[in-house]
Amino acid sequence: MFSARSIAIAALLTAAAAPLHAQTFQDWMSPEVQDAWDDGYTGQGVAITVIDDFNSNDRFVGDLGLGNQFQTHGNWTFQQAGMIAFDADMYQKDYTSRGVVKLKRRSLNVLNLSYGMYIDETRDPDDVRWSLQERSIISYADLGKAVVVKAAGNDAVAVGEVNADGYLDALNVALIGTDSVLFVGALDTNGTVADPASLADYSNYAGTNTDVQEHFLVVGVDGDMTGLYGTSFAAPIVTGYSAILGSKFTTATPVDITNRLLDTARTDTISGYDVAIHGQGEASLNRALAPNSIR
């Protein structure tokens, strides 16, 4: 049996302090976010939990529109999700903890996972002994109890495949086939019909596994603008979209939210769209909010 690498540091699920964001549209966001705000996004009833690195000394500079900041990976993804879904209840959990991820009752729960759990390619991912943390996350995705937004990875391989260094993201593998997971890859920018975007050269892609294709989305990550590259910064965007959807459709389940984003993704804003690369397409908040028909 092989244990997933983890450091036994207890971390409590803590409510966030005042969010490190301003309710201001930033250029790295899709214009659809501004449209949603103009309509008065409320965000009530949605809880976003960001599981990431909040405690290490590994910090880096970026700028999400509030000036240069120097902070941990987790603080970046937390901030980014909060800037899109600024009325959601935000929670952070350090990924080195082993405890169960607690869901908020009477809320739609969205979990943001901008990290991977890598194992050597010689190991069987089915033999991973998950901590309570990952076990709870996988269970929530399997049972549709939370929207689980997972960064696809930055190895330029298909989700679930071994990377060039001989490692495999076992957490990706464990989430394949679950009901409420969204794998998120990165486009090089926000796509439009007039100027379609391409998959970022580092981004993992959907691959030939239809279970992955059916749960794979892409969004623009304008690293040139923010200094932040990677699918880590694609996932919080979809996390924010999930929260916005949840505040409009207050009786929707996590599976409903997941399927809505997948069903309404756009393919006409992607250059050379291919389901094996881009999955269902570029997430579209506008279309996810809109009715299927109206009379």
Partner: protein
């Protein structure tokens, strides 16, 4: 798109109607027996369109896409081949009294309706010497309300079929919340009262 505010009712306490001035001549005669054959009806107002028509016009621009990208244009819902037309008359009963009456046709589009209206009122004049007089004008409008119709939107599994405000169906507002922003307003100047002092020199 920001929900459109409900049209505001204008204050009935407006300044003098030009009508009062127009009628100053014929109604400023000395009190005398007024035979029925002298009772004249004047056309004192003719309008095409109305403030409520303008309110509807203001929401006509814009639209959104459905979940599959099908464009929805508000122009289709909030346009009308016929614009509300109103006529107002004054029938002189005595040299210093008259009845104001009028009607408007209303207006209808696919998702809104301005009801036809009837206007009823009075105009009274009181001479103050040889060159001055007071004119009291009062009227009320029956009907003429603006009402916006709802749409039925199908959100699929995520939200089902719901009654919504057509214009706000694709916003972040919960479908039921959008109904709070339906256009629903009475005619402008529903109740009107004015007192005008006129001095000719």
């Amino acid at each position: 798109m920001t929900p459109a505010p409900a049209p505001r009712r204008r204050s009935p306490w407006l300044g003098p109607l030009a009508t009062a001035l127009l009628l100053a001549g014929p109604l400023a005669a000395e009190p005398a027996a007024f035979p029925e054959r002298n009772r004249t009806t004047f056309l004192i107002g003719l309008r095409k369109g109305s403030p409520l028509s303008s309110d509807v016009r203001s929401v006509r621009a814009g639209g959104y896409e459905l979940a599959d990208g099908t464009p929805i244009e508000f122009e289709d819902w909030y346009s009308s081949d016929w614009v509300d037309i109103g006529l107002t008359f004054l029938t002189q009963l005595t040299p210093h009294r008259g009845i104001i009456w009028g009607l408007s046709t209303g207006e209808r589009g696919e998702k809104y309706r301005i009801d036809p209206a009837l206007k009823l009122g009075i105009m009274l004049q009181k001479p103050l010497g040889s060159a001055a007089f007071l004119t009291l004008t009062a009227h009320t409008i029956l009907g003429g309300d603006l009402r916006e119709q709802t749409c039925v939107a199908d959100y699929g599994d995520i939200g089902g079929v719901q009654e919504v405000n057509c214009r706000l169906a694709a916003t972040t507002l919960a479908p039921a919340q959008t109904l709070d922003y339906l256009l629903d307003a009475p005619a402008y100047d529903r109740h009107y009262l004015s007192l005008v002092f006129t001095w000719e020199f």
